[in-house]
Subunit: 385 residues, 2 copies
């Protein structure tokens, strides 16, 4: 049998790059974090079909364990088949109708992204703003709700660009009082920082796989409350995003198991195992571990004379922003750690670009041994810069 | 240090599902197909940062090998961070402006999906239609272009729902003649069936990782020609989809390497290795292997008295549609093969639901040994139904 090829095959782009070989890194940046070895093993299991009864059972396990991790009873709790940014867009795409007033509380890079996304879905976007490194008070939130009367308040719980953890007490009640939905970014908090979707009155939330869950990047946990589902069900016209349309996904992740798209089955093997490990450790234990190790890091850095950006009560246990000392080339130091010590730390974004390093201790990486490693490397290497 | 938890942690959804254990399957359905063992090994390598110089180098390798697999020089050739359906939506989201006329040539399930997606992006959608199991002639395509004068002609090269391979000769020339872009679904052809993006004059194409590339599902190869890029660059307003916006992705996948979203790094390790294996085998060898094994399957099935749906010249080497013999419960037979022989075959979709089985021999799975396995199982098991 010969091919019916009617053009010669071009070899222009047929390069011999050799077998893959990946350098080992300690990932202390804003994510991805190192994955748990058992999660990597699960990732490499041979794929099965996305409608295989075994896989359909695994989907239910993932959903149930995600409900535990997020502390929610929401029926529609599932990992979007993309990264955290896809899940972020899913919360906007499904909840925003053209002309809806969306109030975004902006205190960092990811607040700005919410503004951009909501605009693309034709929301009438308003913002309240805080300096990068600060959090909103309840009064500021309430003033915003009174002034703009939005249909949706969107905000970031754990702002990865600044290392601020937004205190959530009372915000859900305000949203109910002023009849708006609460949309929350929990990308850098899920699994690592206390988080109560239902008790906090959160209606839409999204996260990622590669931080507090100790899984590689590639899935975007998503959850939607019955209140937000009601808004979705009463919208005029289709969700203007097919891939992330929860009314379609509901037929696959709900009881019918109707084909929507071919699921990333291996990534779901991995997140299933990551969530199982989290439930085995217990949420409170994981939260306490992250907080304990973060406090060790904070004290250690301050003992070295290094200043932190965020006031202690607002600091995020999963991600610490560190002021680059005067006269130090922050980018060169980060490159030095990566190239000569196989350690990744993050540099600043947006308003904090060039001013800070971002040190993540998330999931599998949040250990006292790793804190020692970071403190030692800062102690020995920083004086050279 | 104790947690500052202000609610008790609910154990309602904290179930003990035990360690993951995945059944081994031979995947002869419409995809996913079994992944190459080396690809699974690459998938499980420890993650690195998405801006790590090593990773940035790997991104370029993936792009270059994708250009080879697709036979294109397109600069913007990259895997979308989602499944094939995300890449499908990316072609629509980036090329369609509200009010654009989009003509979809529908001859199966995935043509209908293109109609749905284009409508969500506010295209004025028209269709030309063929019976499921048939392909379009050049005259039919030209008549459609003359009648509707679309800005974009969207069609499916390898229709996974019917097993038809659309002859492409001359279609690109017609699109140039009538000044429209050609958008092509190559989900079930990339790597397994002859495919010449540039020679065929294709402007936008998408595919998946889990079929001809022998990789698990989770990435959606995407390519866009300079002609389609020009349309994107001259559009009014932002692409109404943040995650799939190629003008943003261009800053990360282009030369600047500006952060857009955290890439699914492990899936990219895997597709890099899958594409390397394809380039090592050689495209023509892979295409010939798929055709040879498909022909063995077709002859063997016909020798067993089983009828195929598609006329021989239009048959897709990667996916064969088989008429379920009169009186046989097709779903029960497929379940029997899965549950008792660990073999997955697909059932029918849409117009062919209940009427056909779909047998895939793709990528790593396209071997004469596997053809023998399928023929043996049909010979011994089908008479029991």
């Amino acid at each position: 049998m010969t091919s019916q090829t009617f053009f010669p095959v071009s070899q222009d782009h047929c390069k011999d790059f050799g077998k893959i070989s990946v350098p080992k890194r300690l990932l202390f940046g804003p994510g991805p974090s190192n994955a748990h070895p058992d999660v990597l093993k699960a990732l490499a299991l041979p794929p099965v079909g996305h409608l295989d009864p075994f896989y359909v059972g695994l989907m239910s396990e993932v959903q149930e364990l995600l409900r535990y991790a997020w502390q929610t009873d929401n029926r529609l709790t599932l990992p979007m088949s993309g990264t955290g940014s896809a899940a972020m867009e899913a919360t906007i795409a499904n909840s925003v109708e053209p002309g809806d007033k969306v109030l975004v509380a902006v205190k960092g890079y990811f607040g700005h992204r919410l503004v951009d996304m909501a605009g693309r879905y034709k929301a009438e976007v308003q913002t309240i703003d805080k300096k990068w490194g600060e959090a909103f008070t309840l009064d500021e939130i309430e003033a915003g709700l009174i002034k703009f009367r939005p249909a949706i308040l969107a905000m970031v719980h754990a702002e990865t660009s600044t290392g601020v953890c937004q205190p959530m007490k009372g915000i859900g009640d305000l949203c109910k009082k002023y009849d708006c939905l609460l949309l929350l970014d929990t990308v850098t908090s899920l699994g690592g920082v206390e988080l109560f979707i239902d008790e906090w009155g959160v209606d839409l939330a999204y996260s990622c796989s590669q931080k507090g869950l100790s899984c590689p990047p590639g899935l975007g946990p998503f959850t939607i409350s019955p209140r937000a589902e009601a808004k979705l069900n009463s919208r005029n016209g289709k969700v203007p995003n097919w891939y992330l349309d929860v009314s379609l996904l509901n037929k696959y992740w709900g009881s019918d198991r109707v084909y929507h798209h071919t699921a990333p089955v291996n990534m779901n093997f991995a997140i299933r195992e990551a969530l199982r490990l989290l439930s085995e450790e217990g949420l409170e234990n994981s939260w306490n571990r992250h907080l304990d190790n973060a406090q060790m890091l904070w004290e250690g850095l301050e003992n070295l004379g290094i200043e932190l950006v965020v006031d202690k009560p607002l600091r995020l246990p999963t991600l610490t922003t560190v002021l680059i000392p005067n006269g130090v080339d922050g980018k060169a130091f980060a490159s030095h750690l990566l190239n000569n010590h196989a350690i990744e730390i993050g540099v600043g974004l947006g308003d904090l670009a060039g001013k800070v390093w971002r040190i993540g201790l998330m999931g599998y990486n949040s250990t006292s041994k790793n804190v020692d490693k970071i403190l030692n490397i800062f102690e020995t290497e920083l004086p050279k810069f």
